[in-house]
């Protein structure tokens, strides 16, 4: 479905045209917005977090109501999955879900347990040698069978998961259609943790740090070995989803978790290889950079110019990031979580104004929260953030 509807009277571009312009580092008509709204939507409309993830119609209704009452926004951030087992493809960790393992009103939480063994690095390298395109999928199937008692190993596991993945894809299509009809475009059609970060999540932080010291070559080689399969799956999902963008989540490569030297030597080679592959396939990578990336910013300049978007969540100095990366990639962020929860509307307004003036200078900026909008954010603050792109964000 092509987006034709303009979101505001003064707009000269559709949301998709605007988004393409900022990724390509061209100056759009105004700054676009992209709120990562998920569990916040449940609280806002008065349903439980359990209803949100387990009942797609309620999820869509909650998102639509946020769009109508707090938005509009330019870019919809899809994240919902009805099946916790499928979510493990995004982050291979044990997880506790509201209404299942946690009270219905809690949000999903991840457990730091070892689901990947040291011998798995060699397994990954072996799988990639035999079946480069399917190695990532095959490896994740093994991890997921260890994470969930409901998922068996081998063909039974595939029989359990593949239909659920198809249902999940169809539900995303319904969400996409609903958003496009309202004039919003879609952030990505695929989302997954980067290979190096996957290992950190699946091994557990402390065992993984010991791996990085004790077997660095194996860690780096296994991460690089996964990139062919990762790229293949990314292309598959972005084509079927009809959105030429994919998010690569980087939860464990900030300066909070590893040193810049480890980033350069162990994490960045596979990230660059992956980004190069998917860019060559016509897909724009969205780097979801949690934590503090101040000392990694220079290295990100090595990624292809005018093709990537990088999302920061607050700890990174986004104003410095503009100075370092502004001529290389689009930047998204970063209204801090604590400001959305505890701040006043005038504080949010002032911060968003500064973001637009400084990070939005000359284009290449998407207004968003630092990572996810917290469930207990003040709705007035969310609205102020989304309104700011109309109040301050026009370039012409």
């Amino acid at each position: 479905m092509k987006i034709t509807k303009k979101l505001h009277e003064k707009d000269k571009m559709t949301s998709e045209e605007r988004f393409q312009a900022v990724i390509n580092l061209q100056v759009p008509d105004r700054v676009p917005s992209c709120p990562f709204i998920y569990f916040f939507a449940a609280k806002y409309v008065g349903i439980t977090a359990h209803e949100l993830w387990s009942e797609p119609a309620k999820y869509r209704a909650a998102i639509d109501r946020c769009f109508e009452e707090l938005g509009p926004w330019d870019i919809y951030y899809p994240v919902n999955t009805r099946f916790p087992e499928v979510y493990s493809f995004v982050m291979p960790m044990k997880s506790l879900w509201p209404g299942k393992d946690l009270p219905s009103d809690n949000i999903m939480q991840l457990l730091e347990e070892e689901v990947m063994k040291p011998a798995d690095y060699a397994l990954v390298i072996d799988l990639a040698r035999k079946w480069p395109r399917w190695a990532q999928f095959a490896f994740f199937m093994q991890l997921i069978s260890r994470i969930w008692d409901t998922v068996d190993e081998g063909w039974r596991g595939y029989a359990f998961l593949l239909p659920r993945m198809m249902i999940h894809s169809l539900e995303w299509q319904l969400e996409f259609a609903s958003q496009k009809k309202r004039g919003a475009t879609i952030l990505h059609a695929y989302l997954q943790e980067a290979p190096f970060d996957c290992f950190s999540l699946a091994r557990g932080l402390i065992p993984f740090i010991k791996d990085c010291k004790g077997r660095p070559d194996e860690v780096r080689a296994a991460a690089e070995a996964l990139t062919d399969g990762y790229s293949f799956i990314t292309q598959l999902f972005t084509r079927t989803g009809g959105v030429p963008r994919a998010t690569i989540a980087l939860h464990r490569t900030s300066n909070d978790f590893i040193s810049p030297k480890m980033f350069d030597e162990l994490a960045f080679p596979s990230l660059r290889r992956l980004v190069d592959k998917i860019v060559a396939a016509g897909i724009s990578p969205i780097l979801h950079c949690d934590g503090n990336w101040d000392l990694n910013l220079e290295r990100l300049r090595d990624l292809p110019a005018g093709r990537c978007l990088v999302q920061f969540d607050g700890p990174t100095d986004i104003f410095k990031a503009k100075e370092v990366l502004g001529d290389r990639m689009c930047i998204m962020g970063d209204v801090p979580a604590d400001m959305l929860v505890l701040g006043s509307e005038s504080e949010v307004d002032e911060y968003c104004h500064r973001l637009i003036e400084e990070v939005g200078k000359g284009g290449g900026f998407v207004m968003g929260a630092g990572c996810e909008i917290p469930p207990n954010a003040r709705p007035e603050n969310v609205k102020t953030m989304l309104d700011s792109v109309v109040k301050y964000g026009y370039y012409v």
């Binding site: 506790l96 809690n106 949000i107 939480q109 991840l110 457990l111 730091e112 932080l205 402390i206 740090i209 010991k210 990085c212 010291k213 300066n255 909070d256 978790f257 590893i258 040193s259 810049p260 480890m262 000392l295 607050g314 801090p336 979580a337 604590d338 400001m339 959305l340 929860v341 505890l342 701040g343 917290p374 469930p375 207990n376 954010a377």
Partner: protein
Amino acid sequence: MCEELATFIADVDDEKTLFGVKEALESGVAPLMVVESLRRGMATVGVRFESKEYFLPDLILSADIFNQAIVLIEPLLKAEKTQSRGSIVIGSVQGDIHDIGKNIVATMLRCAGFEVDDLGVDVAPEIFVARAKEIGAGMVAMSGLLTSAFDAMKATVEAFANAGMRDSVKMVIGGGPVNKTVLEYCGADACGKDPTEAIRMAEDFFAGDLPKS
């Protein structure tokens, strides 16, 4: 020998540190002196972390070396009384099950010589109060990664006030979204963003009279 031990662990050199510990013990150095040397080395690790020469992996790996060394020293320490720098209760607050940061802070505080009682995750305010009362803790450290933790931290501070213990314990908070605004909101005494800040807060709260080698 003790100076060398401090240098070895400060350089995050596991082989030299553990060999040095064995050698020191075999040559008759008092086990407590060995522990204090290791603690001095850990303090250097903290300084290097703060100056961004070191990063989280260096904290994790040096704490691991410290713990391995303690396993070697502990049988000999039983006869001697180790001197704690203060007693701390730590936990992830109610509704939050994240524990990586909390675990690292607990380990680093132990390495720095504090007695740490880790209550785990999803800790209700009344559990914090009961445990702090039971062991006579001087400091309560609350951790949270979620923004919903702000209210849980506030409720925990209030629980200490209701129990009449607010003035007898120092309450500190830490975790991803925690900052001075959150500190003001929940009414704790101080906040920190990394393990070295936690150690500094603890040192500020307790008298740090440790034996010198």
